[in-house]
Structure formats: C-alpha cells, structure tokens
C-alpha cells in the first residue's frame, strides 16, 4: 500500500479542530497577520462557509481553503 503518498492539492485546505471558529483558525493559519484582516481573508476564500444558510455554522468535517481560488 502506498500509505505515504503526498499529492499536492488542487487548492490548499485544512479542516477545523475542536472548538475552532474564524478567529482561532485565522490565528493558527496566519499568525503574523492582523487578526481581523486574516479572518476577512479566510472568509473571502470560504464564502460557502461564511454565508452558509441555516444554523449549522462550521462543522468539524468541513473543508476550509487556505488559499485563494485559482483564476478561471
């Protein structure tokens, strides 16, 4: 079995850890950047989460993109 295969992702992503919200994610992913700017950047790359309808919010199984979408 090829258990240690590393194929570069099409678009870099992570998954939330227990208790994560936009702020904790932004702090962890972009520790050098001002918090609110990092949150806004993260949300702009993950509009499907930022504007998710209903009361679901972010779930531990969600994908969170950590880079901008590729140009079409």
């Amino acid at each position: 079995m090829l258990n240690d295969v590393t194929i570069p992702p099409r678009r870099a992503f992570t998954q939330p850890q227990a208790g994560d919200n936009w702020e904790t994610l932004a702090k962890r992913l972009f520790p050098e950047e001002p918090l609110q700017e990092a949150v806004q950047k993260l949300q702009s790359w993950n509009l499907f989460l930022a504007f998710r309808p209903g009361g679901g919010g972010m779930t531990p199984s969600d994908i969170v993109f950590t880079e901008a979408p590729r140009a079409a």
Binding site: L2, V5, R10, R11, G54, G56, P60, D62
Partner: protein
C-alpha cells in the same frame, strides 16, 4: 443433466464486458450450473430467441429502507431488471435506532429523502432497534436481494444520543462507535454510509457531519479490517471542494485498504468542467493506489413540486419552505394573505438556484392537474404569467388554490443533461454507474428506470457504450466495487440472478403517479419497457405479461455472520 430452469437460444451478455454469444443457461437450486451449448430436462424451459440474457442489475445507491418494510419487492426496481439493491446510503439507514430516537430519525429521513410523512407513519412497524433486528423484520418478505449500508449518523445517534447532533465525539465514544459498526457488519451490513453535505429537518447538519476527521478515520479502520466499503456524499457541485474530498477519501482508502464510493458525480451547466476536473483527480489518486469510485447517474434531473409539503424545489426559498410546512387550512389562509404573498413574490425575484441545478420557475409547467387545472396541462408558467399579467408566484399559488393544492408542477432537464459528455464518462472504467436514489424523493421525481435509460439513450440512440459494456457496468463492475461475491456474472457457481430483455425496446416508461403507498397519497414511478423476465436466486420474480410473482427469494448480501 436436469435443471429447475433452462433458458435456451439467448444472446448472453455474461456481465464480463466480453463479446455476447448465443447459448443456453441451466439453473438448479438457485445457482447457475451450466452455460453454453447445453441440453437436459428442466422443470421450466424458456426459448429466449431474440432476447438478451444478462446477470441481474445491481443498484448501488438507493433509499428503499422504509419501502422494504411494506414492499419487499422494492417496486418497481425489480421489473427494470434490478435484482440487488443497496439501501442505507448518505449516512441514513433505519437501524440501529433506539426507540427514543425514532421520531428524530423519521423526521430527518423524510426531509432528506423526501418521503411523505403519512406513508412513513403508516408503513413502518418500528419493531426493531439493532441492525440485525431490522434485517430480521424485512428479510422474510424480500423478493429482491439487498446489500444494506449502515448510516454513520445512526451509529453516532446510537452511541451519543442527541449529542450526536451537537458535538465531536470523545475517544471512548469513537471506540464504542467502532464496536457498533463491527456489530452491524456482522449482522449483514455491507459497509457504512456517510455525508459531508446533508442537513436535517431543522436545517442542521446531519450527525455524520459533526464527526472530526479522527472519528471518520477510526470508522474507516474498522471498515478496512472487515473488508467492507464506505459510501459518502461530498460537495458534488464545486470542483475545488470535490477535489479536496477526493484527496481525503484517497488518503483513507490507502491507509485502511478500503474502497470508498461517492455519489453523485454530477454534470451541470453551473460548473461545466467539474466532471473533467474530478475525473482527472480520481485518475491521479487511483494511479497512486487509492480505490475511490464515483457514481454517475444515467438520467437528467426532472423535478415535480406542489404546495402540499416542503420539497427540494424550495430549498433556497425559506418563506415558501415554511409555508408548505403549515397545516392545510392555515396554509390556505397564508397563501391568500396579500402581505404573505408579497414575501413569496420577493423570494422568487431574488431566487438563488439550488446547488448544481439550472432551475427557472418560468419554465415550470402544469404537470399533474387537479380538476380545476385540467385545461392547463403542459402550459408553461412563464407564459401563463404573461397572459394573466401577474407574477410567477401568483400563477403557482392561484393554480394551487383553485385545486385545493392538488396540482403538481413539473421542471425538466435541470441538470446532468449534456448527454454527449455523460455518455463518455458512463463508459469510463474509473466511473461506476449508480446514484439513482431509488425509493427516495417519491413525490418529486421518479427515481426508477435508470437502467432502461442507459440502454435506450446511451447504447441505442448515442452509441456511447456497447451493450456488453453497459451490462458489465450494471453487474460485474458494481459487484467488484462493492465486494459482492458470486453475483454479477452469468457463470456456473454464481447466483441465478438473471434478466431477459429485448435489446431493441428496453427502456424506462413515462413518469406516472401511482397510489400504492401505505397511506393516502401518490408517488411518481416509471414502469419498465422491454424487460421480459427477472429471476432472483433462480426463481421468477417478474414477468412482463403476468407482473410480479409471490416468490420471496431475496437474500441479504452479505449474509449475516
């Protein structure tokens, strides 16, 4: 040699995908015992000249869990040549479930799979809690084979109770989930289903979505240890999200030596390159040892809707959704209320399409009329709005009110409609055929007859796939992906699940409404065309002239340990 059944002069598509050949097949004690140039005494002999004999089709994505309690034939799946179905997809089975959670499960299942509540309430006996007890409750009446999945959401609910809907699991709860999963596998489950997408009746994520990656990893370890499979629903409408999910599935597959199938792989105009992008990602991950198999359906999406109950058509229209939830008299009053109608109009004006669908209410038409709307059948709502000088919302509401909400509206070819492209991918060896959703969405659209449509559209009309390959993709290929042993081939030693059909006429019939639910109401189905006989474990289950038989030879695949 003597046989229970001898089928002679058939053109045999044996499920392998190899060239068809003319020959005979002998069946004894539910098994195929001879294939080729054979002769002998038989209790029944069928001259199949002009017909194709193939293995019974295997439908890997269904939601017959509830229907099987009141209809062990899973009608009309059998008449389409389907002899094995996989219920329990998308994280939702009907077991294991504690008595306290039946109402919650029922509400979730009905919302996601769009089942009428009265049929659900009248038809389900709920005389089970464990997975094994559910299997015991249905197995005596099975006329079709089942290879059931156990839902991840059910396992979570069993172990965590209501907390399954609220939080990640502890280490101890994950360990208990692994034990429950192993028990379900020993009681007849072929694998586990999950979802990264579905929302319940309160618009909250289903319990499976509250799982941290380590929980899914642990459950996949259990599946891998048992040689079982996982089915899951990813964000199928977005290329970046889908590719991320494919990568996650591929890592789990390699780590746990596990096959993971996802559904659907869906083509839509809103993301025209998605299927190509996902296919390339799957090709890459497969080359590096992953076993990730997408399921692609054959038919385009047609939808029906009325105002009697919430339907997926209103998924992005919260006021419409809430209105359809109201009790009947209260709903009529709301629909007549000018202030409320203004809100309904505004939502149509700002309509956001449901994921992946090219939906425009102006293109909807009157499909199934009540008495007052009989003269409007087939009329486009956009045209009626112009003629009447009113808003689209008013056309829908006025027609519905004139018939006490009995009128049903239709929308056609909302997605998965580019048949040239779809035909190409249906023939691709990396892509499985499935995702049909049989038994679900019963008042929204017919989920039956995808097999017939494969032959009529993609074999006969477009020539996108040979008849031998089409049979292969519905039989041995599914059995291989799912680890179903001794089915899917016309070969000595294999179960005698067999279909006799006319290659020139096999098709799905028109969509019709039937009243065969265990409570007042209707569902949309399609009858089969061109299928002459269907045999399940050697016994005739369906004949085109005589209909369904009383035979109940359906098996649970795999058998409980």
């Amino acid at each position: 040699m003597s046989f229970d059944l001898l089928i002679t002069n058939a053109r045999i598509c044996d499920g392998s995908g190899g060239p068809s050949f003319t020959g005979s097949v002998g069946v004894r004690n539910g098994q195929i015992v001879a294939v080729g140039d054979i002769a002998g005494e038989a209790t029944e002999t069928i001259d199949a000249e002009g017909l194709i004999l193939s293995p019974g089709f295997i439908d890997p994505h269904t939601h017959y869990d509830a229907q099987l309690v009141w209809d062990g034939l899973a009608q009309p799946a059998l008449e389409h040549g389907v002899t094995t179905i996989v219920p329990g997809n998308c994280s939702l089975s009907l077991a294991p479930v504690r008595a306290d959670h039946r109402e919650l499960l029922g509400a979730t299942f009905r919302k996601i799979e769009e089942m009428p509540q009265n049929a659900f309430d009248a038809g389900l006996t709920w005389d089970w809690e464990t997975f094994g007890e559910y299997i015991a409750a249905i197995r005596g009446q099975l006329g079709i084979n089942i290879a059931p999945l156990v839902g991840h959401s059910l396992i979570r609910l069993w172990v965590m109770g209501e907390d399954a809907r609220k939080r990640p699991a502890t280490d101890a709860e994950i360990a208990e989930m692994q034990e429950v999963l192993a028990e379900c596998l020993s009681e007849g489950a072929i694998g586990m289903s999950g979802s990264w997408v579905d929302i319940d009746h309160e618009n909250m994520p289903v319990p499976a979505r509250l799982a941290e990656p380590r929980e899914l990893d642990a459950l996949c370890a259990t599946l891998g240890e048992h040689g079982a499979i996982m089915q899951i629903v990813p964000e199928f409408w977005d290329p970046d999200l889908l590719c991320a999910r494919i990568d996650i599935m591929a890592d789990l597959s390699r780590k746990h030596n596990l096959t993971i199938t996802f559904s659907p792989l869906f083509d839509s105009n809103s993301s025209p390159d998605l299927v190509d992008i996902a296919h390339e990602r799957i090709r890459l991950q497969t080359a590096f040892g992953a076993r990730v198999v997408p399921q692609m359906q054959t038919r385009p999406i047609d939808l029906s809707f009325d105002l009697t109950a919430p339907m997926s058509t209103f998924a992005t229209l919260p006021t419409w959704w809430a209105t359809t939830l109201l009790p009947h008299e209260e709903k009529l009053a709301k629909l007549r209320d000018p202030e409320h109608r203004e809100k309904l109009r505004a939502e149509i004006n700002n309509f956001m399409m449901p994921i992946g669908l090219d939906l425009d209410f102006a293109d909807a038409f009157v499909k199934r009329p009540g008495k007052a709307s009989e003269g409007l059948v087939g009329r486009r709502l956009g045209d009626l709005a112009k003629e009447r000088g009113c808003h689209l919302a008013d056309v829908i509401i006025d027609i519905a009110l004139d018939d006490d909400l009995q009128t049903s509206f239709g929308l056609e070819a909302l997605g998965h409609s580019r048949s040239d492209k779809i035909g190409h991918f249906l023939a691709d060896p990396l892509i499985g055929i499935g995702a049909g959703d049989g038994g679900a969405h019963v008042t929204n659209f017919s989920t039956y007859g995808d097999t017939g449509y494969l032959f009529s559209k993609y074999v006969r009309e477009l020539g996108a796939i040979s008849i031998e390959q089409a049979v292969h993709k519905l039989t041995q290929d599914v059995a291989r992906i799912w680890g179903i042993k001794d089915r899917g081939l016309v070969k000595p030693g294999y179960a005698a699940d067999l279909v006799l059909f006319d290659p020139a006429t096999i098709d799905r019939g028109p969509e019709i409404a039937v009243h065969d639910l265990p409570a007042p109401g209707y569902r949309f189905i399609r009858h089969a065309q061109g299928v002459r006989d269907v045999f399940v474990n050697g016994r005739r289950a369906y004949n085109a002239d005589k209909g369904y038989t009383d035979t109940r030879t359906g098996a649970v695949v795999p058998e409980a340990a």
